[in-house]
């Protein structure tokens, strides 16, 4: 697979790798994908009192573009409110990383991961 420079950069220097405690205050966790499909993404957001995502972390099992897509969204969600984060579209992720057509599902998965993390945050914080 020939990847763009941006994919390779995120793959080789992934941003914000790691985990928050799932029960930590303000943390929302999204886990999407399945091992059988070859991709699992875990995205966590840490939301402050004013509803702004102040930190994000990820871990991904998957191909280079799955890792790059999730690394990219940890950068993008930071500084956004949870509702702004929900407006990130897979097409923007795919475009930014110049993903080849067979890898578009990686960007869809990354969008799903944001939605899942926000939903988990909202559920825990009674919104």
């Amino acid at each position: 697979m020939s990847y763009s420079v941006k994919v390779i950069d995120h793959y080789e220097n992934p941003r914000n790798v790691g985990s928050f405690g799932k029960e930590e205050d303000g943390v929302g966790t999204g886990m999407v994908g399945a091992p059988a499909c070859g991709d699992v993404m875990k995205l966590q957001i840490k939301v402050n009192k004013s509803g702004v995502i102040e930190d994000a972390k990820f871990k991904t099992y998957g191909c280079g573009s799955a890792i790059a897509s999730s690394s990219l969204v940890t950068e993008w969600v930071k500084g956004k409110t949870v509702d702004q984060a929900l407006s990130i579209k897979n097409t923007e992720i795919a475009e930014e990383l110049a993903l080849p057509p067979v890898k578009i599902h990686c960007s869809i998965l990354a969008e799903d991961a944001i939605k899942a993390a926000v939903a988990d945050y909202k559920k825990k914080h009674g919104e």
Binding site: I8, A36, V40, G62
Partner: protein, 403 residues
């Protein structure tokens, strides 16, 4: 040491420089058409083709008259399966037996036969990748016309029990075809002993050029085929088309070298493979795919659990290897061979095939071991599955949101 290191000899091998040297004169000076009977250009090319035929036959202990030139193992498989099935369908029947772990060149050909009105049985293999003889016997029907089983599997390197299968087929009057593309120079093949009727060969897996192969067609008892390529009646009518003298000379020389050197070479390569295996086995949660005893010396297929194959290949870009991961294929499906071995999809996605060859050095294997240790660790740090397993979660109990 030069990077990247080539560890994908099962995909293709470089042409041995000794082979290339033999080929070149047949491109430039000795360019005659072997079918030209009226002048020395033709006679010279014909002599070279016949010498190569003897060299190919010698490696597998066959009569040179039993060797038909083709463009490669894919064409040989097509000619064998279509040619024999059609020829014998009228007398014997329209049922074909093959195995789920065969190369696509066999599986897709058998699918085509199904479209043409034949019936097919695709046998499962055992967890070690080997065919169960009892299951094979049980699949035989009165109308079974042909069975096709590969000698050596291209992904996991296991060696099927060809001698035993040959006995069964001969007793039942079934034409037995064997795809030996991955076997030449790796296992001893004696067609005086093996009751194989048709056998496919490729040059480029055995240090010869791409674009040339051969089909063995047994003479005693005689096997008949319907030609698939019509024209000038070359190769006794089995396969028309002007012979590619330089390619044929290359295949002959490559097979001659294989016969001469394989015993020593397989010892050396086996030692390197065992070193690689030993060096990787101390990485936690690694699984060898396929039987280790009934296996060619060149192949090691390992799943590094919780690390996806394509990202692994990106991480070890200094090593040219292949993976059963869906992400390295166009189909987005993980390896059908590993699935047929009963490996779950996650381990199929996590598999890496190392294939070692004539020009692999010990220094390269040492480098590979060190690199893999570092990168598996790094990717597992990135893997949510690894994290869950470390926390004691049983992944099989997790409800995944499939996409």
């Amino acid at each position: 040491m030069k990077l990247p290191i080539y560890l994908d000899y099962s995909a293709t091998t470089p042409v041995d420089p000794r082979v290339a040297e033999k080929m070149i004169p047949y491109l430039v000076e000795k360019f005659g058409n072997p079918a030209s009977r009226s002048h020395s250009f033709g006679w010279e090319a014909d002599a070279a083709v016949e010498q190569a035929r003897e060299q190919v036959a010698a490696l597998v202990n066959a009569d040179p008259k039993e060797i038909i030139w083709t463009s490669g193992a894919t064409e040989s498989n097509n000619l064998a399966i279509k040619g024999a099935a059609h020829f014998y369908a009228g007398t014997k029947g329209k049922h074909i037996i093959t195995v789920k772990t065969e190369h696509k060149a066999v599986l897709d050909t058998v699918r085509e036969m199904e479209r043409q009105g034949f019936e097919a049985t695709y046998l499962d293999v055992q967890e070690n990748g080997l065919l169960d003889l009892e299951a094979f016997k049980a699949a035989i029907r009165p109308d079974t016309v042909l069975a096709s089983v590969m000698f050596v599997n291209n992904e996991v390197g296991v060696i099927q029990p060809i001698a035993e299968l040959g006995e069964i087929c001969r007793e039942k009057g079934i034409v037995f075809h064997v795809d030996a593309a991955q076997a030449t120079g790796k296992v001893d093949i004696d067609l005086q002993q093996l009751k194989v009727d048709l056998m496919s060969f490729s040059a480029h897996k055995t240090y010869g050029p791409k674009g040339i192969g051969a089909l063995y067609v047994r003479r005693k008892p005689r096997i008949r085929l319907e030609a698939q390529m019509h024209g000038g009646g070359h190769e006794r009518g089995f396969r028309s088309g002007t012979l590619a003298t330089h390619q044929i000379v290359g295949m002959g020389e490559a097979f001659r070298l294989a016969k001469e050197e394989m015993a020593e070479e397989n010892k050396r390569i086996g030692a390197l493979r065992d070193k690689l295996l030993k060096g990787l086995q101390d990485i936690e949660a690694t699984y060898v795919n396929g039987d280790l005893t009934h296996r060619v010396a060149h192949n090691l297929n390992i799943s590094f659990a919780y690390v996806e194959g394509e990202s692994m290949i990106m991480a070890i870009k200094d090593l040219a290897v292949s993976s059963g991961s869906a992400c390295t294929s166009a189909s987005l499906e993980p390896s059908y061979v590993l699935r047929a071995l009963g490996r779950d999809d996650e381990l199929a996605h996590s598999s890496i095939r190392f294939s070692i060859g004539r020009f692999t050095t010990e220094e390269e294997i040492d480098y590979a071991i060190k690199l893999l240790h570092a990168k598996v660790g790094k990717l597992r740090e990135l893997s949510p599955l690894w994290e869950m397993v470390q926390e004691g979660v049983d992944l099989s109990t997790v409800q995944w949101a499939a996409h």
